[in-house]
């Protein structure tokens, strides 16, 4: 039974790990492969700041809120383990700022210590009249992806550095199930007009005195179009760009200025921060995450594809819940093919 994951960002690697953890014991003949044209540190996930925080509303999709919660709880469980450091996982507290009163987010009881900001705290942020404080998690891709890769390699998962051009290509090579974690470029494998780039640009600085994340919101402009500051282990990320439909992966001088000026207005001390890098990434934006099975037929060949893409700017936030859902879908496929001899469902 050959399963191929396409994509080596946070979705691909975590789906592969989750599948291997769940099924390897039950299915010794499971052969897991991973194909990707980009590996860490060159994936979209590597550039993300790594803060666990969903969008302000789940658009009514309770599945996404559940997957977010599963991810948070899973990561929280790893916090005290020796692996946390290597994973790039740590607790981080901080602020969400608004210019008007907003409803509490669906994730208020998932994070720790969620509360409204006091008037004195708001004095720190002139121009903002409302806000939240909570403790969340950071999971930095630049550490997490290598950690996942090591775990997969130790488990004997085979990696292939290859740009896959079609699902059929993989099915014809003898793969029974394809897990599509190709993120932004899923459209190249199967057109999906709902999948659009949400271009972001960030500046990396040395600002070790910043110990909180600060995310501002402009309810009229939309998510990530207002300055944010996220302190990582080695450097702090400044951002505030979201351009729907812009495919350019080049850094723009104008966006640099926008981010720099707006973040320095938010935190004046940033003016003295040293810039150590700049990066542009394309958030794989979709009205809803695509997480579903599909039978893809070409001639005599019927292949099963499980799609797991379209996580926009909340990939890290939702990844483990999606990996588990992907594994469950694989479980149903295996069940149908009666490859799973003993019935008990994998512990999910």
């Amino acid at each position: 039974m050959r399963v191929a994951v396409i994509g080596a960002g946070v979705m691909g690697l975590s789906s592969a790990l989750c599948i291997h953890e769940q099924f390897q014991g039950l299915l010794p003949e499971l052969e897991l492969q991973l194909y990707a044209d980009r590996f860490t540190p060159h994936t979209t996930s590597d550039g993300a700041a790594g803060l666990w925080q969903p969008y302000l509303s789940d658009g009514g999709d309770i599945r996404e809120t559940l997957w977010n919660k599963e991810t948070f709880d899973h990561l929280l469980g790893h916090l005290q383990s020796p692996a946390a450091q290597e994973m790039g996982l740590f607790l981080l507290s901080g602020y969400n700022l608004f210019t008007e009163r907003v409803p509490d987010p669906p994730w208020k009881n998932i994070v720790l210590g969620f509360r409204n900001l006091t008037p004195k705290e708001l004095e720190l942020f002139p121009g903002y009249s409302y806000g939240w404080f909570n403790t969340a998690l950071m999971l930095e891709g630049r550490n997490y992806l290598p950690w996942l890769t090591t775990r997969l390699t130790q488990r004997g998962v085979k990696f292939f550095h290859k740009k896959v051009e079609s699902f059929q290509e993989v099915s014809m090579a003898g793969v029974d199930v394809v897990i599509n974690c190709t993120g932004m470029r899923s459209g190249a494998l199967q057109p999906d007009p709902e999948l659009q780039p949400g271009r972001g640009q960030i500046i990396k600085v040395q600002a070790p005195w910043v110990k909180h994340f600060i995310i501002t919101h402009d309810m009229k402009s939309g998510i990530y179009q207002s300055p944010y500051v996220i302190p990582g282990r080695e450097f702090t990320v400044l951002g505030g760009i979201y351009q729907h439909g812009n495919w350019s992966e080049e850094n723009s001088a104008q966006d640099h200025r926008t981010v720099w000026e707006s973040c320095c207005r938010l935190l004046p001390a940033l003016q003295t921060a040293k810039v150590v890098g700049e990066w542009t990434g394309l958030r794989p934006a979709r009205p809803q995450v695509r997480l579903e099975r599909e039978s893809v037929r070409q001639g005599n060949v019927q292949g099963e594809v499980i799609h797991n893409y379209g996580h926009g700017g909340f990939g890290i936030t939702i990844h483990w819940g999606c990996a588990m859902a992907t594994a469950r879908l694989l479980g149903s496929i295996l069940q149908e093919r009666r490859k799973v001899v003993s019935s008990p469902q994998p512990r999910l």
Binding site: L79, Q80, S81, P82, A84, Q85, F90, L91, L92, S93, L112, G113, R115, L117, T118, K120, E121, E123, L124, F133, T135, M138, A207, P208, W209, V210, K211, H212, P231, R233, E234, P268, A269, Q271, T272, A273
Partner: protein
């Protein structure tokens, strides 16, 4: 009368902040700082500089609260400005956890720090040995940066600083009109204050940049305070110990206690051990004194004995000391105009 000459003894956080307040409130005076140590070698440099007050048994609570509030407000404004990183002042959030619920669930300073509230059950789950906790956001003054920033501001106003060990206040009588004693633990010898005693503290300063929240055990003995570049792990409270030498057994013990609060500290690198002597007293000595010897008077303002709470109240006590210096100056002017009659 010519510009009153004021000597401030001590260049730790109390000496420097007091000198600055004097310059601000008594602009006519000429201020000089005399100290046998300057940053990074003062006792203040060992302190983590967290704004979490220590309670002095014999100072009225409303006074301690006023000092803390003034200090917090002053530093809050700096933390919000472009100078924050140079001054070493930054906000930090975290938790104070207790193995058993404290008698006083609301300390006197709970409404001065930001967002003070009891910890939720999920938050307490991170601390299985602790039953109760408080979450809040406060400020931290990193040293040396804060002391160096104070020195820079002082030099800009023309204040001179000299490396000099003052053995006796009377040494200064000829050159200075007013002496401000901010000698910290040095006051034990300088003015023979037997009510002043050291409380030895050993700390580890480590590289662990993923630790962004503070954690403090309510017993005051175990704490994790993330600074700009290093995290301070503490500590000890050894009354009447004058030893400035690091103790390796203590180092191991501090490290273990902190790792039990924050397991990831096992991966901390580049551990540096420091020792400081908290200049402790049942009440901060903040008062004027007129010394007399052979018909000659020496006006003294004392501002020492802040123990574990120096950073938390430094600006408040510095302002009060400056006010007392102002009274001394008025007294000098009064007596000099009387002398003219």
């Amino acid at each position: 009368m010519a510009a009153p000459k004021v000597a401030v003894i001590g260049a730790g956080v109390i000496g420097l902040s007091t000198a600055l307040c004097i310059v601000e409130t008594c602009p006519s005076s000429s201020v000089t700082i005399l100290s046998d140590q300057f940053s990074p070698n003062t006792m203040s440099d060992v302190a983590a500089g967290m704004l979490i007050p220590h309670t002095y048994p014999d100072t009225p609570i409303h006074v301690q609260k006023q000092w803390f509030k003034e200090t917090f407000t002053y530093l809050f404004a700096i933390s919000n400005s472009a100078e924050a990183s140079e001054a070493g002042i930054h906000l930090v959030s975290g938790w104070q956890v207790f193995k058993s619920t404290p008698k006083e669930e609301l300390p006197f300073w709970s409404d001065v720090v930001l967002g003070f509230r009891p910890m939720s059950k999920p938050e307490l789950q991170k601390f299985p040995r602790h039953r109760f906790g408080q979450a809040f956001t406060t400020l931290k003054c990193d040293c040396p940066p804060y002391l160096l920033w104070l020195e820079k501001r002082l030099k800009a106003t023309g204040v001179q600083m000299y490396n000099r060990k003052v053995a006796d206040l009377w040494e200064l009588q000829r050159e200075y009109d007013i002496v401000v004693n901010c000698a910290g633990i040095g006051a034990h010898q300088l003015v023979g204050d037997k009510k002043l005693f050291p409380v030895r503290g050993q700390v580890l300063q480590v590289h662990a940049p993923w630790v962004k929240n503070f954690i403090r055990d309510g017993d005051g003995l175990t704490y994790i305070y993330p600074g700009i570049h290093r995290v301070t792990l503490g500590g000890t409270r050894e009354k009447d110990s004058w030893s400035l030498s690091p103790d390796p057994g203590t180092t191991r013990d501090i490290f273990d206690r902190c790792c039990s609060l924050e397991a990831s500290l096992q991966e901390a690198q580049d551990i540096r051990v420091k020792v400081g002597l908290r200049p402790s007293r049942h009440r901060v000595r903040l008062q004027r004194e007129v010394l007399s010897q052979g018909g000659v008077k020496l006006l003294v303002v004392h501002n020492y004995g802040h123990g574990a709470g120096g950073f938390s109240v430094h600006r408040g006590t510095a302002k009060e000391a400056a006010r007392l210096v102002g009274e001394c100056i008025a007294a000098l002017r009064g007596s000099s105009s009387r002398a003219k009659l």
